[in-house]
């Protein structure tokens, strides 16, 4: 299906919505003439390849939803207008989408949903939108990095990183995002510039599901303690050391793991807990009876103040 160029004559059109139009490949350039258009929604149009650059002329556009359009590879690559009223951009599930425009001006954007796309990096313009409140990135499996400037998005309430499996670290300064209520995932980095897990300390509004990955890089258990998971409103927690287990592991790692897991006690409302790759020889103190200082099955261990020793 193709739309006629004459669509540009619909000067009073405010809403245009196409759902499941499976043979729609693009929109005519004249769409840019629909100057009253406030909401453009193209959902599950699986052959949609291109959005014409004229969309950048839609000054009144508030909502742009392009959901589940699997053939879309790039969005408005050459774009130089200002979408001064744009509040919401939702590209959820455009699983072929790799490239975002290098420049885009949308100074009022509140919500950007890039979840389940192929984006590898967030362009600079994203971190310049001070109004941004919700940034959905869950299951962006190609996302390699978060830009450092993301910590300047002080209004951010949602930075959902669940399932961003290539993300190996978080930018330091994360603690400044004090409005965050949904983070989803925290990857412990191994570089000096990466955010420490202790940056979660004051992010007390974090709630819902939370994954913490790469715990193998966490060398200082006191940082884990500072994260204060106990105080968060998390009801589902995944703790993962790493998926790849190597044989030549140091004994010190083993003791460290114990102390780290002891310090990562989940909050009392926790319902779902998954722990993967923990190398300690005993369970964390918050799972076992504290007064059980004696033996189990003939093996003795003592409970020291922070780290239990394994004899």
């Amino acid at each position: 299906m193709t739309l006629p160029e004459s669509i540009g004559k619909l000067k009073k059109l405010q809403t245009l919505e196409f759902n499941y139009i499976t043979d729609l490949e693009t929109l005519p350039q004249s769409i840019g003439n629909c100057q009253d258009l406030q909401s453009l929604q193209l959902n599950y149009c699986e052959k949609l390849r291109k959005i014409p650059s004229s969309v950048g002329r839609l000054r009144k556009l508030r909502v742009l939803h392009i959901i589940g359009c699997s053939s879309l590879q790039q969005l408005l690559l050459e774009f130089n207008g200002e979408l001064s009223n744009l509040m919401t951009v939702n590209l959820h599930g455009c699983c072929g989408l790799q490239d975002l425009p290098t420049t885009l001006s949308c100074p009022k954007l509140r919500t950007l949903d890039l979840s389940e796309t192929k984006v590898t990096v967030l362009p600079q313009w994203v971190i310049s939108i001070c109004t941004l409140e919700c940034l959905y990135l869950q299951n962006c499996e190609e996302l390699l990095d978060l830009p450092k400037g993301i910590i300047n998005l002080k209004n951010l309430e949602v930075l959902n990183l669940v399932g961003c499996s290539k993300l190996q670290c978080m930018p330091s300064g994360l603690r400044q995002l004090t409005r965050l209520r949904n983070l989803g995932s925290f990857a412990v980095g191994c570089g000096g510039d990466d955010a420490r897990i202790s940056e979660l300390e004051n992010l007390d509004m974090i709630s819902g599901h939370m994954e913490i990955t790469n715990l193998k890089y966490l060398k200082d258990p006191s940082e884990a303690e500072k994260a204060m998971l106990k105080r968060k409103n998390i009801w589902s927690l995944d703790l993962s050391w790493s998926s790849s287990q190597t044989k030549e592991e140091l004994v010190s790692d083993v003791e460290q793991d114990q102390c780290v897991l002891n310090a990562l006690e989940p909050p009392s409302k926790i319902m779902f807990l998954k722990i993967c790759g923990y190398r300690g020889p005993i369970l964390p103190s918050w799972m076992v009876k504290q007064n059980d200082s004696s033996c189990c099955a003939g093996i003795l261990f003592k409970q020291a103040s922070l780290c239990p020793f394994f004899l």
Partner: protein
């Protein structure tokens, strides 16, 4: 206590953990998964994992409401003193066969010879409903556990490649509604006592290339609603005994390359609603008695070229035989 509200817990790849014991009470835990714990030897399900004089009475169930347990790749694991009696569903994959011994379960009345190391926890009789066994090591033994679980309703046996015949312990499972046997490549026949499983409603026997028939006793499976057969490489004809399966509503035959004939007695299956035939290359015709099956609503034939030619909708020479069936799909 953070563990109090936990409803599902998964512990995976704890390579240095040998014992899970001395646990707090996980009062809400319904589902527990233990995955790839290469060195885990013991899981204690009571708060007091060992016996000290005078303390036995304090032992408490750690998992008072646990209903689902999955144990995958824990080759050394044993459960002590036994699985919680609240368990409804249990799944084992690549795990220690010991787990299947009766002493992994608490039963009332207790056997007189109960070992003295067991805890003194009072418990109701177990009420296991569903058991999955996949890739069990040394699965040629008798799986004695099964004979005590007569309340079992669903049993899956998958990829147990040393299994040559079904253990006799299954014979007692008179509540069994669903039996799945899949990818047991050495299983050479279904047992003669199969007919004793009188509650059986669904029988799925997939990827068992050595099986070629049903036992005579199968005629007593009068509750059987669904029979699905896949990859019985040697079966030449569907056994006559199926004519007695008067409750049968679904018959599915797939990947039976030697099958040449469906018997006329299929006409006795008065409850049959769906007949599905896939990848049966040697099958050339359907029995005339199909016309008597007034309940038959769906006939699906795929990748069976001999049948497709004959009964092709509207054009096949014998289309009339199946034209009374409301939903015929042939491709």
């Amino acid at each position: 206590m953070s563990v109090l509200s936990l409803t599902k817990m998964t512990l995976e790849e704890f390579h240095n953990l040998k014992y899970i014991c001395g646990l707090l009470v996980f009062a809400s835990l319904k589902s527990l998964d233990l995955l790839r714990m290469a060195n885990l030897e013991e899981l204690w399900t009571t708060t007091s994992g060992f016996e000290i004089q005078g303390e036995e009475s304090e032992a408490q169930q750690c998992f008072p409401v646990l209903s689902e347990v999955r144990i995958t790749c824990c080759p050394k694991l044993n459960v002590k003193p036994y699985f919680p009696p609240s368990l409804l569903s249990l799944s084992f994959e690549e795990s220690n066969e010991q787990l299947l011994s009766p002493c992994s379960f608490s039963l009332l009345p207790r056997p007189a010879n109960e070992s003295s190391s067991s805890c003194n926890v009072q418990s109701a009789a177990p009420c296991l409903r569903e058991l999955q066994l996949r890739n069990m090591m040394g699965s040629s033994s008798s799986w004695e556990l099964l004979q005590n679980h007569t309340e079992l309703e669903i049993l899956h046996i998958q990829c147990c490649n040393d299994l040559k015949q079904l253990p006799d312990s299954i014979r007692n499972l008179t509540s069994l509604r669903v039996l799945w046997l899949t990818e047991c490549k050495r299983l050479c026949m279904l047992p003669e006592w199969l007919g004793e499983l009188r509650s059986l409603q669904s029988l799925y026997v997939f990827m068992t290339p050595l099986i070629d028939s049903l036992p005579q006793s199968a005629k007593r499976l009068t509750s059987l609603v669904s029979l699905q057969i896949c990859r019985w490489d040697k079966m030449k004809e569907l056994p006559d005994v199926i004519q007695h399966l008067t409750s049968l509503q679904v018959l599915n035959l797939a990947l039976c390359p030697a099958l040449t004939v469906l018997p006329e007695c299929i006409g006795e299956l008065s409850a049959l609603r769906r007949l599905q035939i896939q990848h049966c290359h040697a099958l050339q015709c359907l029995p005339q008695s199909l016309q008597r099956l007034t309940a038959l609503h769906e006939l699906h034939i795929s990748s069976s070229p001999g049948l497709a030619r004959r009964y092709n909708q509207g054009v096949g020479p014998d289309w009339q035989l199946v034209s009374h069936i409301p939903d015929v799909r042939i491709n």
